[in-house]
Amino acid sequence: MFGWSGSVLRVDLTKGAVTREATDIALAHTYLGARGFGGQIIRDEVAPDTDPLSPANKIVFAPGPLTGTFAPSAGRYEVVTKAPLNNVIAASNSGGAFGPELKFAGYDALIVEGKAAKPVYLWIRNDEVEVRDAAAIWGHDTPDTTDLVRAETDEDAKVACIGPAGEHLSPIANIMNEMHRAAGRSGVGAVMGSKNLKAIAVFGTGAVKVADPERFRAAVMKARKMIQEHPVGGAGLKAYGTDVLVNILNQTGALPTRNFQDGYFPTADKTGGESLAAKQLVRPKGCFSCVISCGRVTKVDNPAYKGFGEGPEYETTWAFGADCGIDDLDAITKANYHCNAYGIDTISLGSTIACAMELFERGIITTKDTDGVQLTFGNVAAMVEMTRKSCTGEGFGAKLAQGSYRLAESYGHPEFSMTVKKQEMPAYDPRGVQGIGLNYATGNRGGCHVRGYTIAIEVLQNGAVMDPRVTEGKAGLDITFQDLTAALDSSGACLFSTFGIGAPELAEMLSAATGVEYSVDEFMKIGERIWNQERLWNLKQGYTTADDTLPERLLKEPIKTGPAKGNVNRLGEMLPEYYQLRGWDEKGVPAKAKLKELALN
């Protein structure tokens, strides 16, 4: 077997049983790996009505067939499970080196099921697998956990773990690997916590074999060259990181500000990638086999927020910055460090604090709710302190750690939660960029930018251009991006490789690596299959067309200031066409003909 490793590792924590199975090659051909492969395992093995935090839920750690090869930026894996946040198939993507290490150890997927009676961690060294006691590690933050687990296993082991937020079962808890890379969204960390699984350490001595080494080498070198010669993949992301987006989104008028009450933040430049590079950047950093190096190793010297770590990324800067009315980059970076250490999603938490700030300013909550804190927009110290409390679960932080939907709903005002399907939207205002609004509304895991990044075309002029203010053509654009991304995620490549290459290069690398010929059409069809697979799951969870929408604010309240002043999102002009082009009926249900075409049941 080439590209794929050929084995799936299954650990039943209830029984303490470890088994190995041959990779279902038909499933691998049909879904590639990672997101698609893991999603199908969840569909096949987890009953739709399963409580996500019960032992009956399963959690899959799956790299893709390109993961661990020297394909450009092919260091990704996905954590796939039923999401505690909103019951969708959570497929949370992370980089670093954990995914490749799983391949080197010989696995296309690790399936964890059941629940341990007490805290444990997994130690995987090739085919030697142990369930080890984690009593002394439970309660530690993610850097300490990583160090402790490495000390007990191998200093070169790659460690994915949860922090206290996952232990507390926060539905926005994440999983951190190599201390600084996050499988961030949908609350996957809480599933580990519910299973008493603190960490997974893996060390492999194998390699990923490819079917046609010469063809693969040629395809990889071509792809690497294309990325390196691209102005973004080759230079821009390394120089400024993802945070470079702050200014272009703000100057476009689509930087959500003060919980999406506005789309323009006058002092945003103080938080942009240019400022970060000047003030905090120690060096850029790449994941396994990366040719881009968008990661930021940073330090903050300001005594009030002193620290060292990685990030923040653009979405994080926005969430704790403009969305909270804050332009203090040192404070934002400190909040980011807290989140990484305690294992909580920065997008969801930042947006939740912004939501709480609006609730406070509207008088819906008071200092009696907020532990005496004046939780107003722009209050820097309050933002950092509430982030810390959310991480530890202290006081009002315990409510914030439930995410903005549960928070706002508990006070009778869910309309102030800026979420789609209960998941917080990221840093692009759909009133200023129409197509991303359709992507949020139709997102299978709720508010999300990395499932259909139309910003690349609508704002960033990457390869093609479409006016962000128009709705015409956006349904087709969204579908193309959603399908391409689903296939790419499942291959094990990084989304950022598309700042340089596209489906033809990915299909060629996959074909050379696996020995299975994938045309561009077949590659895109796999993406479409995965998108529909996730949709079918959502329908079983009770989601309907009524959930394919945006917060009412974005449909009815125009942006107040800045370049996109006066605009709302015109979702109604795009959604019917989206269903039609998807081959779904007016209720958003895939037609039988579409399911047959995609070989889906």
């Binding site: 102005p231 973004v232 230079a235 821009g236 992301l237 120089a239 400024y240 990181g241 993802t242 945070d243 470079v244 987006l245 200014n247 272009i248 100057q251 476009t252 008028g253 430049d269 942009g272 990638g273 240019e274 968008c294 990324e313 653009y314 979405e315 930018h449 990395v450 990044y453 910003i455 690349a456 704002v459 960033l460 002029q461 990457n462 251009v465 006016d467 203010r469 989304l495 950022f496 700042f499 800045g562 370049p563 996109a564």
Partner: protein
């Protein structure tokens, strides 16, 4: 009018923004004058054979000039012009 520079463009201009008095009639006139001030690196970033370089993003009041009239976009005294290299992230 105000002209704002971002990312690598700042390394060519040595400043983050410039107030331009006596507003030029259109974008071509503006960036030609700016290229005269900032020199070859800036000119190469903005122009390709006297047309807009495909790797530059210029916004006038938040609108990409590709959706306005490109280099022929008329300018007014109170306009804000933003000049970016291609950037990305997410």
């Amino acid at each position: 009018m105000t002209v704002k520079y971002f990312a690598t463009i700042r390394t060519y201009t040595g400043e983050t923004e410039r107030r331009v008095e006596d507003a030029p009639a259109d974008l071509r006139e503006l960036v030609t004058a700016l290229a005269g001030r900032y020199g070859t690196s800036f000119r190469r970033a903005v122009f390709s054979d006297d047309e807009l370089n495909g790797e530059i993003i210029i916004l006038v009041n938040g609108r990409n000039v590709l959706y306005l009239q490109g280099l022929d976009t008329p300018l007014k005294a109170d306009d804000e012009v933003s000049i970016f290299p291609m950037v990305a992230g997410g």
